[in-house]
């Protein structure tokens, strides 16, 4: 082999070529983008809501409604929209959530971005786009179409950012979601009945029930945390029993003025650890996948499952009417409802779209009262007018009631991983450490406090 002399001769050449390429690459990255100027807010009187009179328009829409009932509702609504407004042609591009998240960034930086996009609420998606001036504030349209009357503020705030993208949960409205979601407690009704237990009415009741179930030799809480994030929902549920809702909102939106280092948060962390110590969770949960865990629950392993309403359709398929759902009970039976929850991905309008009026008309069409009926009919949980939907008694009704109650009484608290761009990782890893006994509640909270404080201080 004579690779060596050749390599040593070509190496400097390669280095020189690379250096030239660097020089050719030229100006700073992102210099072709608008210089972060926030998109101007159209005034309410200037917007046009008469979609039929907007002339021939083509709207490019990027969504992630690719699965089951989600895909069905989107197709149905798009068809109805085309039939109603033949002058507006829809060019639909749909891709899975992961694909959308990774490609949207590039698509929005281009000169001809899509008109309507489904953007994840979090700071690294919607927040970053707002900061870069790529999304249009929708407040004028919200007023013109009356969105604020139909959507509770606890739901709308998940799509609100300050114009510079720094503050989350307040400021301009940048998107409108179709569906809602709330993290609650699924339970296996048949198993509860067999054990002679009523669904718990208070949080203390719930803990007693877990102990009883454990004593009877069943798995009290089905759980799989290999994917890191499922524990965030379980912890959020425990935390919102003891920590006041406004404090959670401040922490979760990454605003200044709260702290992880409080006795209440410590109590929540300790309670979670005590559940591990008492063996309430399924065995080997840190090594079990999320999908595998809810599928196991669907096969009758486990009596309770703390999870989001998005699992309803799949669990109902597996367990039929044996599946039950409730909001996590409060300290007392009549305590106001508080639960981690939010919305599906909101639909937003890009700042460079030449047809914002048509885009807004489209968003209104897929979120209006009729659309909510279509959503219900296709097995989705509509985010607005939830109480007005007619669904048969049973699991679906329980989910609708749960979300309707929580959103109407402004009892939804945000997902904790919204807090900072890195918080999903910090919290996910810290929870795995905590649940595996690698760290104690104090160290756990210190880790979270550090990430939160660093961000909140620098964010101003």
């Amino acid at each position: 082999m004579t690779a060596l002399p050749r390599a040593s001769r070509t190496l400097p050449l390669f280095a020189a070529i690379t250096a030239t390429a660097v020089a050719l690459a030229g100006c700073a990255p992102g210099s072709s983008a608008p210089a972060g100027s926030p998109a101007a807010q159209p005034s309410a009187s200037a917007v046009r809501t008469d979609a039929a009179a907007l002339g021939e328009v083509t709207l490019t829409v990027w969504d992630q409604e690719v699965r089951g009932g989600q895909a069905a509702q989107m197709e149905q609504l798009n068809q109805a929209f085309q039939a109603r407004y033949p002058n507006i042609r829809l060019n639909r591009v749909s891709r899975s959530f992961d694909d959308l998240t990774t490609t949207l960034r590039l698509a929005l930086s281009g000169n001809e971005p899509p008109d309507v996009v489904e953007a994840n609420n979090g700071r690294s998606s919607m927040g970053a786009f707002v900061k870069a001036g790529q999304l249009l504030p929708l407040d004028a349209y919200a007023e013109a179409y009356g969105w604020k009357e139909r959507y509770p503020e606890s739901v709308l705030r998940y799509s609100r950012y300050s114009a510079d993208g720094k503050l989350f949960g307040e400021g301009n409205l940048y998107g409108l979601p179709q569906v809602g979601e709330v993290v609650g407690i699924f339970y296996n009704r048949a198993k509860l009945t067999a054990l002679g237990i009523e669904p718990p009415k208070s949080w203390a009741d719930f803990e007693t029930t877990l102990a009883t179930v454990k004593a009877e030799g069943e798995v009290p809480l089905q759980f799989g945390n290999l994917d890191k994030w499922p524990a965030v929902h379980v912890f959020g549920t425990v935390q919102s029993r003891v920590v006041p809702a406004d404090q959670i909102a401040t922490l979760a939106f990454g605003r200044k003025g709260a702290s992880w280092d409080t006795p209440e948060n410590a109590e929540a962390a300790e309670q979670l650890v005590s559940w591990v110590d008492k063996g309430y969770f399924a065995k080997g949960f840190n090594g079990q996948g999320y999908d595998a865990s809810w599928q196991a629950f669907g096969k009758g392993q486990g009596v309770f499952l703390i999870a989001g309403t998005w699992l309803l359709a799949d669990l109902q398929k597996a367990l039929g009417d044996d599946i039950g759902f409730m909001l996590p009970p409060g300290a007392t039976a009549d305590a106001p409802p508080v639960a981690t929850g939010g919305t599906g991905l909101p639909f937003a309008i890009t700042a460079k779209s030449p047809h914002p009026d048509a885009a807004a008309a489209y968003i209104d069409f897929i979120t209006n009262a009729d659309a909510m009926k279509v959503l219900t009919g296709t097995g989705n949980l509509p985010v607005a007018d939830t109480a007005a939907q007619s669904v048969p008694d049973g699991p679906q009704k329980e989910v609708f009631t749960a979300f309707g109650t929580a959103s109407a009484e402004n009892g939804l608290v945000p997902y904790l991983d919204y807090a900072t761009p890195t918080f999903a990782d910090t919290l996910g890893a810290a929870l795995q450490d905590l649940l595996a006994g690698k760290s104690d509640p104090q160290a756990f909270l210190a880790t979270l406090e550090k990430d939160y404080k660093t961000f909140a201080e620098s964010n101003g």
């Binding site: 082999m1 004579t2 690779a3 060596l4 390599a7 070529i17 690379t18 250096a19 030239t20 390429a21 660097v22 020089a23 050719l24 690459a25 700073a28 990255p29 992102g30 210099s31 983008a33 210089a35 972060g36 998240t101 990774t102 960034r105 929005l108 930086s109 690294s124 970053a128 786009f129 900061k131 870069a132 790529q134 945390n225 290999l226 994917d227 890191k228 399924a282 065995k283 080997g284 949960f285 840190n286 090594g287 079990q288 996948g289 595998a292 196991a296 761009p421 890195t422 999903a424 990782d425 996910g428 890893a429 795995q432 450490d433 595996a436 690698k438």
Partner: protein
Amino acid sequence: MRPKSSRAAGPPGEPRRVAYLYLLPAFVIYAAFLLYPIGRAVQISLYDWDGLTLGTWAGLDNYVAVVTDEGLRAAFGHALVLIVFFSLVPVAIGLALAAVLHHAKVRGLGFFRTVVFLPQVIAMVVVAVAWRRVYAPDGSLNGLLSALGLDGLTRGWLGDYTFALPAVGVVGTWFETGLVTVLLLAGMSRIPQELYEAARLDGAGAVREFLAVTLPSVRAEIAVALTLTVIAALRTFDLVYVTTRGGPGDSTSVPSYEVYHRAFGLGQVGSAAAVGVTLTVVIFAISFGINRYADRRVT
């Protein structure tokens, strides 16, 4: 007769400048799709950039972070551990397996070669999904252990702080062993039979024969196998992405996963590029070292 002007530059058969012109089309493609992106990545790594707004000059900060950031250092450390599982163990197993297959002159060698090579044919994502099931708390590995009466050893392998990284590594061993074995088998088949006869006449046993004849003869193949598998180990992404996403905690995070995660998850494109460039340099250095070592020993 007047010589043609282009000939005047030198004697016939010597390289002429016009030859570079023939290289140009290939070079343009090479430059546009490889050199320019590399240059751009190096440039981005010197900026603090979120991928959307104007980047700010950061100098070598991103590279300093690669060295000082505990999480990133750990990620590179995990990649080095994976080299053991992706390269060293497969080469050891591959040598033994190939020597036995070669020595024994087994019937149906083609069949065994195919079977051993099979993991290479499967997409890594599929491999990862399958092994995730194997390692699950109710998976087949724990099932096997229970059946053997070793219930005390059962665990959620990918969620265990001690065993998650080795568990991921074992998948790599399983994946790479076939490739290494087939490479080494090909090398061994080229060894002249006379060498073995001579060794036997000198009274060498099977072990001695292996050490004195087989091993030195396949040094070049070992170098190739090491290069390929080390690169595979260092750039492991899909396996970690599908099995653990870097967990539990951060105990299986690897540089490639950090690149993806930082660029697309966190919007720290500058930092992601710095990790990527560092990884490229490390891969280049290690494979260069392996080849250099192999060459020196041959001559």
